[in-house]
Amino acid sequence: MTPPNSTPHPYSLLAELTYRCPLKCPYCSNPLKLRQYASELDTDTWKRVLAEAAALGVVQVHLSGGEPLVRQDLEQLVAESRQLGLYSHLTTSGVGADEARLERLVRSGLDSIQVSFQDSNQVDNDFLAGLSSFEKKHECISAAQKLDLPVVLNVVLHRSNLAHLEEIIQLAVDLNVEKVELAHVQYTGWAFRNRDALLPSRQQLQEAEQVVQAARERLGNRPELAHVLPDYHQQYPKPCLQGWGQVYLAVAPDGAVLPCQTAREIPELDLPNVKDESLDAIWFHSPVFERFRGTDWMPEPCQSCDRREIDFGGCRCQAFLLTGDAAATDPVCHLSPNHELVELAIAESQQSTAPLRFRTYE
């Protein structure tokens, strides 16, 4: 199929192999109604998806979930990625990644691994994960390092672990990983449901920025500290995915193809599926990928804004969740006519004593 001239090829594929996961993190990026999506693509279909992705220009595949290690065909999919010239990156909780399994994955051609931690210490980590997993994460990382596999640490930050930021950074230093992503919660899905219990205060955030800055000065670039700021406290929205349908696509466990992993939040999108169409046809021609591509769809104040090709109007899922209109300016932008919704959410959350609701299969 001939691609339209203005549409770039995607660099990155998020392959969500399964929504199954032994952890119950209250900010999980998977959908709320997990039971609806219980059916999973089989091995051959995933292999076809990987081949179509490589032909479409994808360079890097993020093997993710849920917990991708629950898929017993993961080795086959890693081997297929390697054969296709795709750089494979495994996103895991570390649970189920013992040395024998990792060795098989490395032998199949796995290039790198990202391991999540929920907090800096066993008690808090295991509470947030809803599972005794702290030790297993350590074992996973030490096994990965023995196999010479580069390790990225990912820690999702929010109100109840921000006070431990210093210790979280120290954990990354002690584990001797190459990079740690300190990523504040993005309020969609489970995190949106738990927003009142997760949103930090402005003061907490300022303190966190100081901690990261001081650590960077002290540590240099080992490990590299990537601090992903919470957009509720920013002046401008995040450049969501570097633009809708520009560099990235996600394939969900059931074969749905999404411009962003949380796009299931937007009910108006009739998601295409790899079972019905090729990835190429979906990327270049499906109405879902065309819906917010470029700048023509933008309302004011985005349409005439100098930053329209810097932040691309922000997050579509967030716009929908906060305003009911997926085509609205992301309300975290201080120029949005709905910005008071964000201010209100911050104010309300600071008074709230709502308990965390953990991820369940509903």
Binding site: Q60, N154, L241
Partner: protein, 104 residues
């Protein structure tokens, strides 16, 4: 979670530091992208797009010394500041964690 797309141009900057025997780190992969017609270095969660001169340099980061690398490049490129440009470029890749000095 995402793939950062970054572009690297070999440009002029003066620096005191030098790298003697540049090699790509084990987890970085240098590749030709036949769809976009460009060279890239792929690494965990990122892609660095190289221009032609950058690719000429990186393709020679194979264990030879920087002096040998520059000498070899001189047959291909005419640039008065070649030595300084190459050193600067190499150090930027070291800073990004993509190159190491094999002599260290």
């Amino acid at each position: 979670m995402f793939t950062d797309i970054d572009c690297e141009q070999a440009i002029d900057m003066n620096s005191e530091n030098t790298i003697h025997r540049p090699v790509l780190v084990r987890h970085a992969r240098f590749r030709w992208d036949d769809i976009r017609k460009q060279h890239q270095i792929v690494y965990p969660e990122g892609v660095l797009v190289l221009n032609e001169s950058g690719a000429s340099i990186v393709s020679r980061c194979d264990g030879r010394s920087t002096d040998e690398l520059i000498e070899d490049l001189q047959n291909e490129v005419s640039n008065d500041k070649l030595t300084a440009d190459v050193q600067t470029f190499l150090l930027r890749l070291v800073e990004k964690g993509l190159l190491v000095d094999a002599t260290k």
